[in-house]
Symmetry: C4
Amino acid sequence: MSNYFSRWNELAAIKKELADRDWFYGTSGNLSIKVSNEPVTFLVTASGKDKRKFTDHDFLLVDAAGEKLEETSSKPSAETLLHAKIYNKTNAGCVLHVHTIDNNVITELYKHDTHIDFTGNEIIKALGSWEQDAKVSIPIIPNVAHIPTLAEQFDRYVIGDSGAILIQNHGITVWGKDAFEAKKYLEAWEFLFSYQVKLATIKHVVGSF
Amino acid sequence: MSNYFSRWNELAAIKKELADRDWFYGTSGNLSIKVSNEPVTFLVTASGKDKRKFTDHDFLLVDAAGEKLEETSSKPSAETLLHAKIYNKTNAGCVLHVHTIDNNVITELYKHDTHIDFTGNEIIKALGSWEQDAKVSIPIIPNVAHIPTLAEQFDRYVIGDSGAILIQNHGITVWGKDAFEAKKYLEAWEFLFSYQVKLATIKHVVGSF
Amino acid sequence: MSNYFSRWNELAAIKKELADRDWFYGTSGNLSIKVSNEPVTFLVTASGKDKRKFTDHDFLLVDAAGEKLEETSSKPSAETLLHAKIYNKTNAGCVLHVHTIDNNVITELYKHDTHIDFTGNEIIKALGSWEQDAKVSIPIIPNVAHIPTLAEQFDRYVIGDSGAILIQNHGITVWGKDAFEAKKYLEAWEFLFSYQVKLATIKHVVGSF
Amino acid sequence: MSNYFSRWNELAAIKKELADRDWFYGTSGNLSIKVSNEPVTFLVTASGKDKRKFTDHDFLLVDAAGEKLEETSSKPSAETLLHAKIYNKTNAGCVLHVHTIDNNVITELYKHDTHIDFTGNEIIKALGSWEQDAKVSIPIIPNVAHIPTLAEQFDRYVIGDSGAILIQNHGITVWGKDAFEAKKYLEAWEFLFSYQVKLATIKHVVGSF
């Protein structure tokens, strides 16, 4: 567990950056970073905190089931189960979940679809697709208040060591092999959402609405 | 009154955060925090100051009638009466009132309605409603230049220890049991307004306009 | 001229704040503050500088004709003549001119009008009108590349000790008795423009376009 | 090569400013600054870094062919060839390439055009055109994944010592005689794009779509 402090600092740096973008309205969002592989342990944001503040209780260590491994009065984020799904099935090293206006609006624009496809935008290279006319696709799953049920739906799309899932009128979850990669993917997806939403305000023709 | 300084600092921290979001255009907005219960006293923003600046005169202590309890040349905010209504009727510990473009625009979109309802967005959990398909509702009252008249209209919706009211083309007032909760609610409402306004720019079908 | 340094600092503080909002794209915008009354002298931003940077050459002292009173290689802003008009005709203490997307867009939306009127928004109180249903009005003048000609058109609307003028697809000029007041007015007008522009994206019915 | 450190610092300052605007989503964007003329050498951003961070490996020196001149594990940006084209053909001293939502959206709005013309906006003066009703024009070239092919298309529009090119759904490349000028032009173009995109959300009549 020698990674504990360096991982804490990496996650705190990302939390700071996303807080600067104001992506944690109403204490929403949750972040995690893997600390060890065998057994799987990860640091995850504590539940219900103001993520614009920085304290010694921002994160806590949990096991592969999302149960806390530290004596602390903090509770892991209510959605820790989604993070655990990813660490258990893949080699991901970092998971980021945020609510933004645009990642909510786009799920409403495409609410009759199971996926949103993007093609022809240069930022797609940041998602690892460098060929001409590469297409990227992100699944949208319905939002369900019961977290274990949500986790089941979510689980179907947890496939590779990096990936992203939109939850209807809720937000995006992105994962990658490390903090750097997860944040890069998050930014690329948010760029695509903002691009598409802005075009929609002009062209009024997006998806199936 | 041993709470005076710690409450001052809490309110100053919130003022800083909302100023960073540029939510105090034209010296608009006013904030308060309860200092004592018996008798009720609270710190409230001084009238007409630039809330992007930080001075020893930013707040002043007032009583349950909104009258100042300190020797100072500052005057309490012109809308202190609205804050007093809340502290007198409920156990709220903090009241936040801000003008934002989106909280003004949304009252114009719904100007023929007395309430705006929101459902199906995850951020609603931040308002304390965790069940599936929870609905939240915020009243809109007409804006009246005469503050005692406005306070009367306002008073009808001051019901629980937390709550929120929109004033037509003016802004939102949010209260909660403490500064943390009031700010969390404020952010959740603003998220919902921005979401709805952005959708409206695409779908052109919102409310009854 | 004992006011020189305190006025410099006041103007630098406003420049910092407006730069933080990114209101000086492409070295646009110019600011000034009165230093003495008899004779009239004022500090004005130097021409062509990046206003996000802070140096000893940001401002220079000029006389009532806009001619520089200091040995310096800097030149006064090309639009110093507009500032001089205001200091010569009124008791204004500060003049702010900025280009923003919304203050440009709104002049295009109302391009067939000579004025834009606003009523019913609470922020209007910041402009000094406290009565119910107060109306405020801002003139729009055509943009003319030849500054003396522009100054003549501008001059017709330089009436009171505070005021504001929009120049078509160019920006706003605001003045007030001091730096605090000028900035307060600027923020109030920009709030109204952003509000109106955002409503227009939804309702598609604004002004005479 | 005595310019190395002062140029490094100039480029780092611009990188900081553009990072503050969040114009490097998903590690996109690349920047360069000329260090010597004979032979041509320039500092260019290293490939694939998070440009919100500041390290000793942010830039590396390359020659006129874009080959690195330093022992370093960093690689020059994948698009260094475009920068090299400009330094080889012109006297430009700085080249900036960024992806923004608006510079992507506008290429989609004008996707059937080879150029976008702007006229009648004051910010055009920042691009060096001071006469009444000056028109500025920016070419749009198709985005091609194969960089040498893209560089060829790009090359046709690399004409003067300052200039700008839009790449379809990719971003803008701007150059000028030095860092100050390149950034000024970048801001002026982005202002025009944002203005036009915002108008399009209201008027729904832009370009040929």
